[in-house]
Symmetry: D2
Subunit: 333 residues, 4 copies
């Protein structure tokens, strides 16, 4: 009864099956039949011409995107609680060769145009200060909130007016889209997003994420950077196959809907213990240390999140009967 | 009938099966039950205490090893034909933050103490010149030659006398050991090697190599660098499981022996067309452009290698009956 | 009547004279008779064996110090208002190859052990988060406050307990020591400082700062980094000569005392308009936009500092009669 | 009687005088009256609109130029004997964030289109290999040879056809122009050069070189990089003043002509001992170890250059009577 991370969940059987189906002789690196389909499939999904690369982790997807949008002497604005700031061991600094993250605020790890403006207000346009070149937002956020198309577009408009790029860390992009019910295009390029880290690993995949550039010209140098970082696997077809399996029949959406539904179940049980509205597959609840200990004594596994809060994450494979016991236990607190 | 790369070959069924067996809920990153076995299993294999990390590609293994052995302002001596110099898009420069590769010579991509001395003879010990900090050798080499324990030890001795580290790119380490018939320890740490990129992908694996440090203290900062490069997969157990499968019952050796045997078969057929002795799973033969075209017309796929030479690579899964037709065709030229 | 920067002031005649005296044929780089004296003179000044290098700017001194104390995957804690964070265009990120600055708070740009602890409290000791390796404090601070030996020692103690290095940005170190009246050793190595950027340029020098390592072993790699950054001037004697002139007869202290005295003059005139106590050569006063305009109309030149504040900087060469008119004008507001 | 380096020579009195004249209060960094003249004066000198920045060393000029022309994942072709390869401690790798130097051959450290083509012939246009983005040539070369406008133009044409940038390391550009008697434009932008490191330090300056961009748009990011490297001096006027003094009445040309003339004097004495024709201010002569010892016993100071050769460098301030004794001694060998 583990609720501590969607990274701990197993891989969806269709993904494993697709990898087994790819277990034939083919061309090395990304010249194979699977990898060659990515540009087209993601262009279809996003209703515009995109360039889509497989990469093996969310951190590498994010970092390559940032390196494409920001020079070494530039800065990227992100939320103080962003994954790129807190959980990637400085990967953006490595891939960008030392660019700076400027930290903004906002409830639930959500940036706003006003928050971005406040975080950058002190920056003079001179060579003494690191100049912003991009904004990175996470959708769904690290606290499970979802940016609507309008909210993204407001940030996109700010970026356009400043000449900045806009990156979306979509480690849980599927959960966001499942919540919004919108076209993937609406919350990305139509709202001004230039590059998307489209996550699959937390959503039933094994080791493949898609880095989607809505400005395909950004891909060229990225292909060099991907190789230079040791990320261009010699047997890339096993990554591409994972992604194809996730796209087929919208498995990515089905998995995300399942996880979101499970989270709503918990949310209803948690009532006013909720720290944030539940819009994706993460549930943050206020519990005392004793209450947390009590839940653990019942066999539930989860992370404390700061003092007096717990994070509960629902994975794609946790059906209602797996979640109901925890919901009941929370309701009974 | 493809002979152009062992990267194009499929994955061994035992590796796929091990990945499927790992498809259960477990801890994320490298805290899982599979990853935790690596240090012990490789310590057993090498008969000394080592630190062993999974990484997803040979390029990342090599680069992390070099970053552990050489500061940004230092240099690594390697052969002019080394993979790290020619086929990794400058990954060593990325991971080391700009260290220099000093290129040495020697037949068949093999370095010698004399070659290393010649390549570094012009370097004064001052701050104006980049100072060597490490040597990197490839075993088996990019031309399929194998360093013996004595040959490695001679280089190891030079490194020790200079205070340099010694890295072995073992993308085809299995083929080398299969050829030598020695203990893995003999051709590595007993001969002065500090870090080994132990390759599995070219030998039946999918996406997991082992980075083995014979000085375990080198692992600490490497763990940070691995994360910082986006290489610490959230579902690391699927990498570790691959390696465990390759180690079990010495599958790595069996696969390498099979590939080496296939290469010897070709070598016998090639006779004095051989550019180098065949000691691993690569065969370089002198063929005219017309002869090469003739072989291709018969359905054989391979890379030209410079002018008048062809590279033929045997994979773990190519049995004698798969190779015999090519051997006969070469003999008939 | 300019009060906007001690960088705008001219160079002390003794410094210019020393440069002219050095205008003879000598060895290139830092092999000359002047450069060779630095280690000894600073060891005398600090009453312990130090390694001292000339560098041509405060930014390069700071960055080289940080690179000596923090690996690329590490972090340095500094104040949110620190020069290294706000006014060096990301130089620490460049020289450290991407290390992170963690920003702490405290009045007047002054860090405290508590502030440092608060800024780092969220950091788990794992590979996902950038780990602190050093603290950097500025003495005198960017707001003209001076750390006492006891205040530095408290931070030094924290660093020692954590295994972190401690750097002091001493762009206005002379002003701090002049204020404290202590031995330079008391507020540096005896209080736990490992590396000091000892500034001369703002204090009557032209283009030479001293980077002083109280752990001389930190100098070795720094010598390589200095060269690699293009900072090892071929005619280094003209830098060393500047520093020797500043050290001779404690010119550095005399200049700083003069500037500090001028600042106190302004401080007395400013009374409760002062934003911070005046402990060095910078005076921050609360003035309305109209008052600021009025002062400028009288011919006084200075920077606004945020809204409703002005920064007034006194240089080494501004004697009482140069400052009195501004003091009177402020008193008359 | 030192002939070992033009870096050891003193500074021209006019340069020192200009620095003293600049010893007044002015704006900090590069906002001063001297720095503002550089763009215009170099545009006049080169008969086209250029962007010209002061930098404090040849290494920093070269590195900033290369960083403007080559991305981190790219390569720069230079001669095996180039200063950027051998004498800058890997500065190009630092400033470019890890770009590779590809080493070409040619007598007297001189590259040719054929040499460049040979050095890059093995590079496939794929992501596995580092792709060339620029060529760097040194004029006069490290062996005192001078590229003619036609020779530069041939390389410039190759670069244009490949889309590569072209950098000229002009540490001894003055000596080259003095030898050629051409317009500075003829051997630079008219021949395809994009960026020039225009050296003054070896030619009577103290610590200022000009980095001249013939494509002014290259300057923008370079201004950020200059600051980020700690090279934007707070009292920049003392650097700009040096350059203005060197430009005034063509002092740079007069100094170079004097040094070149001295070198020709030695060349005549050396006769067939010359290793290379003498076209600038460096003279390489074949001398046995005994002969070298004999010269040193007479009080002449110089560097051995490999085995059996000596390098003799004439500085701007060495008049005929200072050189004659060495010329006579060589003739008498």
């Amino acid at each position: 009864m583990r609720f501590f991370s969607d990274n701990a969940a197993p891989v969806h059987p269709a993904v494993l099956a697709a990898m087994a189906d790819a277990n034939v002789l083919d061309t090395a690196y990304d010249g194979d039949a699977w990898s060659k389909q990515l540009d087209g499939l993601f262009s279809d999904l996003f209703e515009t011409e995109v360039s889509a690369l497989w990469v093996p982790s969310g951190t590498s997807a994010n970092s390559l995107a940032l390196a494409a949008l920001c020079p070494p002497h530039g800065a990227i604005v992100c939320h103080r609680d962003a994954h790129i700031q807190n959980d990637e061991c400085g990967a953006p600094g490595f891939y960008t060769h030392g660019a700076t993250l400027i930290l903004g605020d906002g409830p639930g790890a959500k940036l706003t145009p006003e928050g971005i403006a406040a975080a950058t207000a002190h920056i003079r346009a001179d060579v003494h200060q690191v100049q912003p070149h991009a904004v990175s937002i996470t959708n769904a956020t690290e606290y499970g909130l979802v940016y609507t198309p309008a909210e993204v577009a407001a940030i996109g408009e700010l970026c356009r007016s400043k000449g900045w790029g806009l990156h979306m860390d979509g480690a849980r992009f599927a959960n966001a889209v499942a919540n919004l019910g919108c076209a993937p295009a609406d919350v990305t390029w139509r709202a001004g997003v230039d590059a998307l880290s489209f996550g699959f690993v937390k959503n039933g995949g094994m080791s493949a994420e898609a880095l989607v550039f809505f400005k395909p010209e950004l891909a060229e140098a990225t292909l060099m950077r991907r190789k230079r970082a040791g990320l261009l696997f010699s047997k890339g077809r096993y990554l591409a196959a994972q992604i194809l399996a996730m796209l087929e029949d919208d498995l990515w959406l089905a998995n995300a809907r399942a996880a979101n539904a499970g989270a709503r179940l918990l949310a209803e049980a948690a009532g006013d213990r909720l720290v944030f509205p539940v819009e994706a597959n993460e549930v943050f609840v206020r519990v005392s240390a004793e209450e947390a200990a009590g839940l653990r004594a019942l066999g539930f596994d989860f992370y404390d999140w700061g003092v007096g809060e717990a994070r509960l994450v629902i994975s794609w494979n946790q059906a209602e009967d797996a979640i109901r016991p925890l919901a009941d236990a929370i309701a009974a607190l």
